[in-house]
């Protein structure tokens, strides 16, 4: 395919240069990073050989930060400075955060953007910053392990994540100085890990029982598109609850009605040990050393199953609901994929198999399967597999719209619309002489604005005064391939243009991100200007390489000799500029060259459309009537 040849920059100099790209599973309890190494997607361990990074960040008064295992040890001792499960806070407003209650026991402080900051000994931290720490840690790990700089990452998000939550995840990556190749739905990633995108078209169920959350997603694979039909689950049910059930049973058996927190932790630890033992054995022995003496237990799998069975039944009920929402029957499901460490529990597998009437996929480690799928896509997106046909098309999970008179939500882009998509709708003024219009962007399926999620508000000013209904305001919604929304508004009649791009409420302003980036450079004692310079050089390099490649491939065909020379000259200018150390000049040079190559890019795109349609003769393009 024509375009794939251009999609291999620097080919002449380094024909088989493998680009380093990773897949990141940014989980509620644990996070992982994976990459394709010698053709196989594998998760990358840290120095001590551990693959799972607990998603825990602890802020110390001295300004130091602990991440992962080290931080998790302090979760109960230093709860307000040790942030666990930050994923639950991403893209959420103050009200949402309050409603989480015990799940987010932190001290919050409001900010201008409506995003709550967590008060810690190390200062006020936004959930985005906390997530960025986890991403940075994984990036360092990957760069160490792969031996070079990453070109980018595919980061997974739950299928039900709305625009604000996706934007927050992308902001975290920006803060961690990591280029996002794509945000990918977690269940889709799991299906990709099993190669189901290459398989038969049909309905796929992804059952994801993690440490603290349960998600069930019903997907349909149709002509290469993974469509999320429905999602369900329980954000407060996971493997930890199985441990809890067993720990409580222990406490009853040894007749301990009151247990202190350290005893409770001890019992939970032992319970987890027994649970893991019972995954591949029929019974497990455990000795509990308590103040009251030693207690020995021999627990059979049957006993354990009886204890956790009510919890697992709950997940099956959620599965039933998800199927009903998707309007499919259990027997319509072609494939079942298991995700999350807790799906190792034999009773879970058995119940899931019974419910769907088919054997679930369990061959890939359920803790790693999402990261593995993300790595496979990252490898393709980085351009390492120019011949790959893989293309994951996506739809928006929830409708996007505007508030109109009377608090009604007017949908502009309906759910399940293929993305990327751009759609415009015209609105008008309500009063004579009205010069401004408040625009409120919402997401959701309900009719009333109050029942939808508020994404952004902005005001379009500078409308020339005229009679009510005379002004024509075109509001354009554009959703990119990651499902992220940009909204622009423009007044048409007068020719006066006012337009604005918005970011979701509860998101960080660009200025805030810049400020945090600045702060993080200082913390990392890295030279800020050197970093900024390097960034611009990388962007310049990317543009130069892709243009040189495009010129080599299509220059003769699509440009006149004069145009070709002019473009080459412009490229040389940027090459010279990027050798220097003037960051601003390089930035400007990139903009100039990008603009200069606009026409060429459009011609190449048109040309590839022609090629894609080749074999269909032009005669077919008849006129009507």
């Amino acid at each position: 395919m024509a375009l794939l040849q251009i999609a291999e920059p620097g080919q002449s100099e380094a024909p088989h240069q493998h680009k380093l790209a990773v897949g990141i599973d940014l989980g509620t309890t644990n996070s992982l990073v994976a990459s394709v190494k010698s053709g196989e997607a594998v998760t990358l361990p840290d120095i001590s050989g551990k693959h799972l990074l607990p998603s825990v960040v602890r802020y110390l008064p001295c300004g130091n930060i602990q991440i992962g295992e080290e931080a998790r040890g302090f979760a109960s001792e230093d709860p307000f400075n040790t942030i666990v499960s930050v994923k639950r806070l991403m893209g959420r407003g103050e009200e949402d955060v309050k409603s989480l209650g015990d799940e987010a026991p932190y001290h919050f402080e409001s900010s201008d953007s409506g995003m709550p900051f967590i008060k810690t000994a190390g200062g006020n931290k936004s959930p985005v910053e906390v997530s960025a720490e986890i991403l940075k840690n994984l990036t360092y790990r990957a760069e160490d392990s792969l031996g070079g700089e990453l070109v980018g990452a595919v980061i997974t998000v739950p299928a039900y994540f709305d625009d604000a939550q996706r934007q927050a995840t992308k902001d975290a990556a920006k803060l961690a100085d990591l280029k996002v190749l794509r945000l990918l739905n977690e269940p889709t990633a799991a299906a990709v890990a099993y190669g189901l995108d290459q398989g038969k078209e049909g309905v796929i169920a992804v059952y994801d029982l993690g440490g603290g959350t349960f998600d069930i997603s019903i997907l349909r694979l149709n002509k290469g598109v993974f469509e999320v039909l429905s999602t369900g689950g329980d954000s407060a049910l996971g493997g930890d609850d199985l441990d809890m059930a067993l720990a409580q049973w222990f406490a009853e058996q040894i007749d301990k009605s009151e247990i202190n927190s350290s005893e409770s932790r001890y019992l939970l630890e032992k319970a987890r040990f027994v649970k893991e033992q019972l995954s591949d054995r029929e019974h497990a022995c455990v000795v509990l050393e308590m103040d009251s003496g030693c207690h020995e237990f021999d627990i059979t799998r049957e006993q354990f199953d009886e204890l956790v069975s009510p919890l697992i039944k709950k997940t099956i009920r959620a599965g039933k609901r998800a199927l009903k929402d998707a309007a499919v029957e259990a027997e319509d499901v072609l494939e079942v994929v298991m995700v999350g460490g807790s799906t190792r529990v034999p009773l879970v597998r058995q119940q899931v198999q019974e419910f769907f009437g088919r054997e679930p996929h369990i061959d890939i480690d359920p803790d790693k399967v999402v990261a593995v799928g993300a790595a496979i896509q990252a490898d393709v997106l980085a351009g390492n597999k120019p011949d790959s046909d893989m293309l994951l098309l996506d739809v928006i999970p929830l409708s996007l719209g505007l508030e109109t008179m009377g608090g009604l939500a007017e949908k502009i882009i309906h759910r399940n619309t293929s993305i990327p998509v751009a759609r415009a709708q015209e609105f008008t003024t309500y009063q004579d002489g009205q010069t401004a219009m408040a625009i409120h962007v919402v997401q959701g399926e309900r009719e009333l604005v109050q029942d939808c999620r508020s994404l952004a508000r902005f005001v379009l000013r500078g409308i020339p005064p005229m009679a009510a209904g005379a002004a024509k305001i075109r509001v354009t919604f554009q959703v990119d391939a990651d499902g992220l929304l940009g909204v622009a508004a423009k007044e048409l009649t007068s020719g006066v243009e006012s337009s604005i791009q918005v970011k979701p409420s509860y998101g960080l302003e660009d200025a805030e991100i810049a400020e945090m980036l600045k702060a993080s450079y200082m913390n990392a004692s890295e030279d800020k200007t050197a970093r900024a310079l390097r960034e611009q050089q990388v962007e310049a390099e990317r543009l130069i390489l892709s243009l040189q490649d495009a010129l080599a491939a299509d220059g003769d065909l699509l440009l006149s000799e004069e145009e070709k020379q002019q473009l080459s000259a412009e490229i040389d200018v940027l090459i010279e500029l990027s050798k220097g150390s003037d960051t601003l000049a390089i930035e400007k040079g990139v903009t100039v060259l990008a603009k200069a190559s606009d026409e060429f890019a459009a011609r190449r795109m048109d040309n590839s459309i022609q090629k894609a349609l080749q074999g269909h003769s032009v005669d077919e393009l008849g006129d009507a009537g």
């Binding site: 790209a21 794509r182 351009g383 994951l392 293929s418 998509v421 554009q478 391939a481 459309i609 009507a624």
Partner: protein, 175 residues
């Protein structure tokens, strides 16, 4: 960027109401493979932006051509006839009477003894009227009688709306 081609030309199909759906999906899939921004994920932001615009145009084209109503509206739009905004054109009173009757029946369904049966019957009738209108549209459009074609499209809009309301009522009754 210059996307000057109409949706039919862009996808490589003849400008016509008759449309082979499998051909539409085959060709759009070929184009997706070429145009999707993921193909440019490792290239410069600039190229990705261009790809997003083309891909958005393709998605819009597919969504428009897939739906019989949107396709008919688009065919008229290509002839500079706008059927999507409010119009003062009079609609045949007989048709309006029929609409009112159908709507009255819809309103009475929740109190019927077997609402689902009634709903299905009504749905069937509406679809039949719609099919007739579509056939009439094709005839008018192909013979160049654009004013009849326009009036057919306006009537189709009424019926499509009614179908949506039937669907909504069904959801409500199920809950």
């Amino acid at each position: 960027m210059d996307i000057s081609k109409n949706y039919f030309e862009f996808i490589g199909l003849p400008v016509s109401y008759h449309l082979d759906r499998s051909e539409l999906s085959d060709r759009s899939r070929e184009l997706q493979k070429t145009l999707h921004p993921d193909r440019y994920a490792h290239l410069s932001d600039h190229e990705q932006r261009v790809a997003v615009q083309y891909m958005a145009y393709l998605n819009e084209a597919v969504a428009t051509l897939k739906s019989p109503l949107l396709r008919a509206q688009y065919l008229l739009q290509l002839q500079d006839i706008d059927t999507t905004s409010e119009s003062s054109t009079a609609i045949d009173p007989m048709f309006l009477m029929q609409q009112m009757e159908l709507r009255e029946r819809l309103e009475e369904i929740p109190s019927a003894s077997d609402p689902f049966d009634e709903l299905e019957e009504l749905n069937g009738e509406v679809v039949a009227v719609l099919e007739k209108l579509r056939a009439s549209f094709v005839q008018s459009y192909e013979s160049g009688d654009l004013s009849s074609a326009t009036s057919d499209v306006r009537k189709m809009q009424f019926l499509e709306k009614l179908l949506l309301e039937i669907e909504r009522l069904e959801d409500k009754l199920e809950d």
